[in-house]
């Protein structure tokens, strides 16, 4: 494992200049693309991608060899006077996955956003490629920043690059979604900024390593921690602060949704991890960690149920993102060591981070597949998906592989993550989170079964594709999904804390056992809560559904109530009030830790 915060970080390390390259290359791409204009933008972006991927891989390789964090001091000024860039194991893993997802999205988006010779230059391709590179550069800044203010600037850069992606097509509802997203994100980042000021006022530095040595639980620090946490939660769209996410993620073009859902929400999540694990591991305490994971658990139940009731595939995936984000927050109480009263960077953190990167790859693949299905059919109504598996087999396969990877079938990253989290839940004797983790897998299987049941069903009339879907686009989606499916085999011990539990027994049997119960549970959920249209009459599930009639009606009532609650929570005043209440709750929950 690479130590999290090395005591001696006042000097730059060899390989530190790679970190600068990781920031500079995408941003130089942005500037060049601006200067070169419409026709060259795509070429510049596509040329930058392998370069950025190579840099990310080089950083991971150097770190794997030296087994130490990489540090670069800007202008050779050491903190607290200067600003440091630091890459630890978490940063290296996140940067590598980001580069991978961005490159796959580049291949995928090539067909949507190109400017063929002889056609007029359009605004959307120009904006898309520049924004994609800008998001990449900003994300790398988030992963490398060594102080809280650089993190603030990076977070804002991510938001500014992500918001226009939502409204690339310029329709009124996507403009509204973008504006909502921007305004709510600004509220979140201002709260983060207030926390930053308070910390600077109390300790005279914002450097993460220096702060972690100086920080102690006084009033200003608690207020700062609560405000920063809540601000970041608003940007991550944790339930109940998710008013902006469903319209933004469902309205963006497929490539944009993939970036937003796979990568952009992970930026603020990553900063929460930095804050809680690196800056102030001893501050939040048991109660606050329970509260944070409680929000995550609520997000899982709420997001999944609303997802199952959606009519459109993209909205279903958007709401499932809400649930998966909740899943990420389950690691916080499991990392809490009651003995030292600190959050420990151990197996739970590794599990949470593995879940993050599994979700990044799988969800990007699923949004791409949904985009291809939308392009092929001309709609994405779930009840109208019949026959699509025959027309677009690779896309449906990519969707299925991404979903299966998220359910947690070995050797997927989500499987390893689940094992680590369950192990941590056992060690810290928090059985209730083990139950929530299992429930998360079942809910994920629920919407997978629902979509696949429709997609695999025979068509009422032969499906004619509206456009020809090039195989490269399907291959990009499938490659990411398969990547998520084998993520558990990668050598994580070099980068992430805690070793992997050695897989025992034949893998096939294990895979079957790990997948069986969630999928059965998921099928039940899908039958109870999903929309089936007239598909029920013929499908073999019809019998099942008919027998479950009374239960289905009860589930429908529950679903409606939850949907109505979702509608209320996604109003501004409700979301704003939740934000303030959560800030107070977090402040109060951190008090007993003093």
């Amino acid at each position: 494992m690479i130590p999290h915060s090395d005591p001696v970080l006042e000097a730059a390390t060899t390989g530190g200049s790679l970190l600068v390259l990781a920031l500079v290359v995408p941003l130089v791409g942005v500037l060049l693309a601006f200067a070169a204009g419409g026709r060259q933008v795509e070429r510049i972006a596509l040329a930058t991608m392998p370069l950025g991927l190579a840099i990310a891989v080089a950083i991971a390789v150097v770190m794997g060899q030296t087994r130490a964090p990489l540090v670069y001091l800007l202008g050779a000024w050491a903190p607290p006077l200067g600003v440091a860039l630091r890459a630890d194991g978490l940063s290296a893993v996140m940067m590598a996955i980001t580069a991978l997802v961005i490159c796959a999205i580049g291949v995928f988006a090539h067909a949507d956003f190109r400017t063929p010779a002889g056609s007029l230059e359009a605004r959307a391709p120009f904006a898309f490629w520049i924004l994609l590179l800008a998001i990449w550069g900003a994300l790398n800044t988030v992963f490398l920043a060594g102080d809280l203010f650089t993190l603030y600037v990076a977070l804002e850069l991510v938001t500014f690059a992500a918001v226009p992606l939502v409204c690339l097509d310029g329709r009124a509802e996507t403009l509204q979604a973008a504006l909502r997203y921007l305004l709510f994100a600004l509220l979140g980042s201002v709260l983060y900024l207030v926390g930053t000021v308070l910390l600077y006022g109390a300790y005279g530095t914002l450097d993460i390593v220096l702060l972690s040595r100086r920080v102690h639980p006084d009033a200003a620090t608690l207020v700062a921690a609560a405000l920063m946490t809540v601000g970041l939660l608003a940007k991550t769209a944790v339930f109940p602060l998710h008013l902006w996410l469903p319209p933004a993620h469902a309205g963006a073009p497929a490539a944009g949704s993939a970036v937003l859902s796979a990568l952009v929400v992970k930026a603020s999540f990553f900063i929460v991890v930095r804050l809680w694990f690196d800056v102030m591991p001893g501050l939040p305490g048991f109660t606050a960690a329970q509260l944070l994971a409680g929000l995550g658990g609520a997000a899982i139940a709420f997001g999944s149920i609303v997802a199952l009731r959606q009519e459109r595939l993209k909205l279903l995936i958007a709401y499932s993102t809400l649930a998966q984000i909740g899943y990420l927050f389950l690691m916080f109480p499991l990392a809490f060591n009651a003995g030292s009263a600190q959050l420990e960077s151990g197996g739970a953190l590794t599990g949470g981070l593995l879940q993050t990167i599994s979700h990044a790859t799988a969800k990007a693949a699923m949004f791409m597949a949904a985009g291809l299905i939308y392009a092929g059919l001309g709609h994405d109504r779930i009840t109208g998906l019949g026959g699509v598996a025959r027309a677009l087999p690779l896309s449906v396969l990519a969707f299925a592989a991404g979903g299966v990877a998220l359910v947690g079938v070995p050797p997927s990253g989500a499987y390893l993550a689940k094992e680590l989290l369950l192990q941590a839940a056992g060690e810290t004797e928090q059985w209730w989170w083990a139950a929530v983790i299992q429930a998360g897998g079942i809910f994920t299987a629920g919407y997978l079964v629902l979509v696949l049941a429709h997609a695999l069903a025979p068509a009422d009339e032969p499906v004619t594709l509206q456009v020809r879907v090039p195989w490269t686009r399907e291959a990009a989606a499938l490659a990411l999904a398969l990547c998520s499916l084998v993520l558990g085999l990668a050598p994580w011990e070099a980068y992430l804390p805690a070793s992997r539990a050695a897989p025992s027994g034949p893998l096939v049997l294990k895979a079957f056992a790990a997948a069986f119960w969630p999928i059965v549970g998921g099928a039940v959920l899908a039958v109870l809560l999903g929309r089936w249209g007239k598909r029920l009459a013929c499908a073999p599930a019809g019998f099942l559904v008919a027998t479950a009639g009374p239960l289905r009606r009860a589930a429908d009532v529950v679903g409606r109530i939850i949907e109505r609650a979702d509608g209320t929570l996604r109003q501004w005043p409700a979301a704003g009030l939740s934000l303030l209440v959560l800030a107070i709750l977090f402040g109060a929950a951190m008090l007993p830790a003093r």
Binding site: F160, V163, G170, Q176, A178, L187, V190, G201, L577
Partner: protein
């Protein structure tokens, strides 16, 4: 009451007013203005922190001033982006409100969605 305290109270008032406006006003333009008020309050806190850190004989701690300039640039860009989006929204729909947004509810009762 020292100048630092007065500035601190003013900052708190600006933050409170901005927060209230941002949450309760339905008009996006007012929300943008409220965000700027909120931001100004936070920048004032930066000023207070700079003065308090100046006890060691300096006229003021320079670091918060450097931070506040960056913060102002960020807030300015955010405002520009928000206003640009608002203008496009106005061009597209003829009204500049977020309220008209029909939440993408797809309950069995919401046939309009």
């Amino acid at each position: 009451m020292s100048a630092v305290t007065i500035f601190g109270l003013c900052a708190a008032a600006a933050v409170g007013l901005g927060l209230y406006g941002l949450i309760t006003n339905p008009q996006p333009l007012r929300k943008i203005l409220a965000f700027n008020l909120l931001g100004s309050g936070v920048f004032l806190v930066f000023g207070v922190v700079a003065r308090r850190g100046a006890a060691s004989g300096f006229g003021g701690d320079p670091v918060p001033q450097a931070l506040v300039i960056t913060g102002i640039v960020v807030a300015f860009s955010a405002t520009a982006l928000a206003v640009a989006l608002l203008l496009r929204l106005f061009q597209a729909t003829g009204s500049a409100t977020l309220r008209a947004e029909a939440p993408p509810r797809t309950g069995s009762d919401a046939t309009a969605a």
